[in-house]
């Protein structure tokens, strides 16, 4: 199986980001007893903004790191690597990581929004679905790290629950 661990990093980063940030928006907005369309509007707006900023952030960070690595290699080779296959690999990696982070973030965001899109939304259903998604991400994380799957799932779901509890305690929507 040709598995790129770098993509796994951005799938987890983006998905967790999208899931929990959007869940936070939904919990915050729904505390005010607003209509379904307002929750969907706020959550989708947040999801799109988050996907774009995550994608842009990954692009900028990866560009700095990968071109830095390329410069170090150029110094060792005593030649420039512009317009070579090596530079094209660097560019592809930056674009792939940027897209993976943005798309994962958006897909993650859709999980807590989905009940509201189907007009059956409530914060409890969104929290439940998000915890299931976090458990799947924990399983995936265990697969990548080749460590104990159960511990990865508990860690992922536990951290998600802490964030949900904190958002509820703060009650930012009131």
């Amino acid at each position: 199986m040709n598995f790129n661990i770098e993509e796994g990093r951005y799938i987890i980063l983006g998905s967790v980001d999208g899931l929990l940030a959007t869940l936070g928006i939904i919990i915050g907005v729904s505390i005010g007893n607003v209509g379904n369309s307002i929750v969907v509007g706020a959550a989708l707006g947040g999801a799109i903004a988050l996907a774009m900023t995550n994608s842009l952030g990954a692009y900028l960070a990866e560009s700095a790191v990968e071109y830095g690595k390329l410069t170090v290699t150029e110094k060792s080779l005593l030649r420039k690597l512009e317009n070579t296959y090596v530079e094209s690999l660097t560019r592809k990696k930056i674009m792939r990581d940027s897209a993976t982070h943005g798309v994962s973030s958006f897909i993650g965001s859709l999980v807590p929004i989905s009940p509201y899109l189907l007009s059956t939304g409530s914060p409890i259903i969104s929290i439940g679905l998000s915890l299931i998604a976090l458990a799947l991400l924990g399983f995936y994380s265990g697969f990548i790290s080749k460590r104990n799957y159960i511990i990865s799932i508990i860690k992922m779901v536990g951290l998600g629950m802490i964030i949900v509890i904190m958002v509820n305690v703060l009650k930012l929507g009131r």
Partner: protein, 100 residues
């Protein structure tokens, strides 16, 4: 006599290259060069950023420029041309008293 030069049959190069792409891809690309019958790449030194590879290429009429272009496109640098055989047939190096 330019324009009617003897055909290169064997080329041995010392190449410095980054770790990526691997020597497998370099071997594939060099093997695809026109008139190349076979290639042999052996890694003899690995550094933190780079690696040194000895490349042996045999063929009927090898174009050095094309070979160099493939190596440079994959990020490599030809350090030296260590051996070259040209003409109607490959002439092997003879051992002399100095080599004994």
């Amino acid at each position: 006599m330019i324009g009617n030069m003897a055909q290169i049959k064997r080329l041995v190069l010392d190449v410095l290259k980054p770790h990526e792409p691997t020597i497998i891809q370099l071997a594939h690309d060099l093997g695809d060069v026109d008139n190349v019958d076979g290639v042999n790449l052996s890694l003899y030194e690995v550094d933190q950023q780079t690696e040194n590879v000895k490349i042996t290429i045999e063929g009927s009429d090898i174009s050095y420029n094309l070979v160099e272009h493939v190596i440079e496109n994959l990020g490599g640098v030809v350090h030296s041309v260590d051996e070259i055989a040209a003409g109607k047939k490959i002439v092997e190096e003879e051992e002399t008293l100095h080599d004994r």
